[in-house]
């Protein structure tokens, strides 16, 4: 039981940070990133490669990968963030083009599909479809803890990162930078007219989101110890997008609520329940609920559970970092759009 709870807690942090990252890019920046999951994957692979050690060292399970090194505790996680950011730097310029939003979504889906195919079909790159396993847990041998206390220590570490990430996203959302993002999202031409550099601002938020997504991959892989293409199919991004929309596009607290409801209550908690029906039935039902969920949310409550509100009073007034963690006074503008993502 305690193992389930600690696992769920780590998954919650991973889902929450992933949702916050997508909310930064999509909710604030208006970038339709249907490939968010590949940034998480890049982080997870980077963390694995920087903690597994060189491939030639004859690991018992005979994995092949193109490069590896064994680094000390926080470094693999930093590598994960860097990998996510670098990937964003590479992919970003291609996606910043102004075009129909549904085409932008299709382009990002195409990117996610291609990356998935490349990794699966190139066995010497990241061990192909089998993926990497046996990723060491950080500091496990140094801490001398029992398995379950180690898990809880990891939950504490992940939670710390989660709180920092949440505070950081709130900070961005409330800062002048966040206001610029919202302005560009709501009216590109008007924002350009007052001298905002759309390309630069969007690129920045894309990279920041990529770094956060990369770190979530690192947090997850260092906990579960394995990572393979089946863990990051393009459909996983639909889960995060649903969390963003359910919580409320552009609302960070909403992202936490959405991540909890979609990621934990719907997807992860049932894996610990006794199986019903044939193996795979629960999975199908979960995905049906996600599909129906999109239709119901967009139909009945497109603004999400917590609608976006911009607290103009707090904006840019960063007295200290903690001021961004507490719920701000709610007032001010809200987006007038009736259709998500336009």
């Amino acid at each position: 039981m305690t193992f389930y709870l600690s696992t769920l807690a780590v998954y919650f942090v991973v889902y929450a940070l992933g949702t916050l990252s997508l909310n930064l890019q999509f909710g604030l920046g208006g970038i339709v990133n249907f490939a968010l999951i590949i940034f998480e994957a890049a982080g997870a692979y980077a963390a694995s490669l920087t903690s597994l050690g060189p491939s030639a060292q004859g690991l018992s399970n005979g994995q092949r990968y193109f490069w590896g090194i064994s680094l000390a505790f926080p470094l693999p996680l930093i590598a994960a963030g860097l990998a996510g950011g670098l990937l964003a730097l590479v992919i970003g310029p291609a996606t910043m083009r102004k075009m129909r939003r549904d085409y932008q979504a299709a382009a990002m889906l195409a990117v996610a599909l291609i990356v998935g195919q490349v990794v699966t079909n190139a066995p010497g790159f990241l061990n192909g479809g089998a993926g990497l396993s046996g990723v060491p847990q950080p500091l496990y041998s140094n801490l001398h803890l029992s398995l379950s206390s180690y898990d809880w220590a990891y939950v504490g570490w992940a939670t710390l990162l989660g709180v920092l990430g949440y505070g950081f996203c709130r900070w961005i959302s409330m800062s002048p930078f966040g206001r610029t993002l919202r302005a560009i999202r709501d009216d590109e031409d008007a924002a350009s007219a007052v001298g905002k550099n759309q390309w630069g601002v969007r690129m920045q938020v894309f990279i920041i989101g990529g770094v956060i997504a990369g770190v979530t991959g690192g947090i997850l892989v260092e906990f579960i110890g394995a990572w393979s293409p089946s863990a990051w199919s393009y459909q996983e991004t639909f889960v995060l997008l649903q969390a963003v929309i359910l919580g409320g596009v552009g609302n960070e607290r909403g992202s936490l609520v959405g991540a909890f409801l979609v990621g934990i209550v719907l997807l992860e908690a049932p894996t610990f329940l006794p199986a019903i029906g044939y193996p795979g039935l629960i999975d199908s039902v979960q995905w049906m609920i996600i599909g129906l969920g999109y239709i119901l949310i967009l139909w009945m409550r497109p603004q999400g559970l917590l609608r976006e509100r911009v607290d103009l009073r707090l904006a840019g007034d960063g007295r200290n970092i903690f001021s961004y963690l507490r719920p701000g006074r709610l007032r001010g503008a809200q987006s007038a759009n009736t259709s998500i993502g336009e």
């Binding site: 291609a94 939003r101 195409a110 291609i114 195919q117 995905w287 996600i290 599909g291 336009e342």
Partner: protein, 295 residues
């Protein structure tokens, strides 16, 4: 030379299947402006219905016809309920694409739950081999090519030689103007959902027949080819979508014959990505500027 010719033979069969689906997609995309990603799941639906009927003794081509019609009705139902609701609510391009993905997820996973994610093998004779100009086709493949030829010819005839075709093209270009000039756009829209659904289902069935196997993801896996053909041609350029389908099949099969077979789908997705980044309007679209959704 022999490798090349046989690759061309495969490409003709591929193109036959792909052009049926692409024309359906393009017709509906041009009319409604909805990037309907539920097309893949609907293809699988048609194929699964046809498979089920065939297993229960229905002659395969009758089963194909029934599967296609069933998808046509499903498409009409989805268009008249879900897509219309969202279009009336004011949903725009991205939200409509999300809604279509959601519909696709529901259909896909309902099929997965019903079939227990089984991959079924079709079980009927492919017929004898025929040599035509150095290329070898089975009887089944010849029938598929014939079906595609009839489909392309009749769709082109309807679109360019009949009043219905004029109505469809006018409603695609400007629904309000078409309505004002006395075209019953509602009826045209319904017909579009049905025709595109029938083409989608028919394409799904012939795809499954050519693979000789079917599971609930068959259509989804195939969707990138369809999107590529449709977007290369451009929104609503229906006849050109068939031509793009042929060229794409040729590229993919020839590349496959010379050693890139594992990367078939990546070639298609790569072309799709390059098109979206470099020339998203496609080469023959006259509807590119449209931003509103009609459903």
């Amino acid at each position: 030379m022999h490798i090349f010719l046989s690759a061309v033979g495969f490409a003709i069969v591929d193109a036959a299947i792909l052009s049926i689906v692409s024309m359906g997609f393009s017709l509906q995309f041009g009319m409604t402006n909805v990037l309907n990603l539920a097309f893949g799941p609907l293809m699988s639906l048609g194929a699964l219905i046809a498979f089920y009927l065939n297993e229960n003794g229905v002659f395969i081509w009758y089963a194909a016809l029934i599967g296609a019609l069933a998808v046509g009705l499903t498409s009409l139902f989805l268009g008249q309920t879900i897509f219309r609701t969202f279009a009336r609510k004011g949903s725009r391009l991205f939200e409509m694409a999300i809604v279509s993905i959601a519909v696709g997820l529901v259909i896909d996973n309902a099929m997965a739950a019903i079939t227990h994610s089984t991959t079924y093998q079709f079980n009927f004779p492919l017929g004898s081999n025929h040599d035509i100009g150095g290329m070898t086709f089975t009887t089944t493949e010849l029938i598929i090519i014939l079906i595609a030829a009839v489909t392309i010819a009749s769709l082109e005839y309807v679109l360019h030689r009949t009043r219905l075709g004029v109505a469809i093209r006018a409603s695609s270009a400007n629904a309000n103007l078409a309505l004002a000039s006395g075209i019953r756009t509602e009826r045209v829209l319904k017909l579009t959902w049905i025709i595109s659904g029938v083409l989608c289902g028919l394409g799904g069935v012939v795809l499954a027949i050519s693979y000789m196997s079917i599971n609930y993801t068959t259509g989804d896996t195939y969707l990138p080819y369809v999107l590529t053909a449709v977007i290369v041609a451009g929104i609503g350029a229906i006849g050109y979508a068939a031509i793009a389908a042929f060229i794409l099949s040729l590229v993919v099969e020839v590349a496959g014959a010379y050693g890139a077979a594992a990367y078939n789908i990546m070639i298609a997705i790569g072309i799709l990505l390059i098109m979206l980044l470099v020339r998203p309007r496609g080469f023959f679209s006259e509807l590119w500027e449209r931003v509103e959704v009609t459903a």
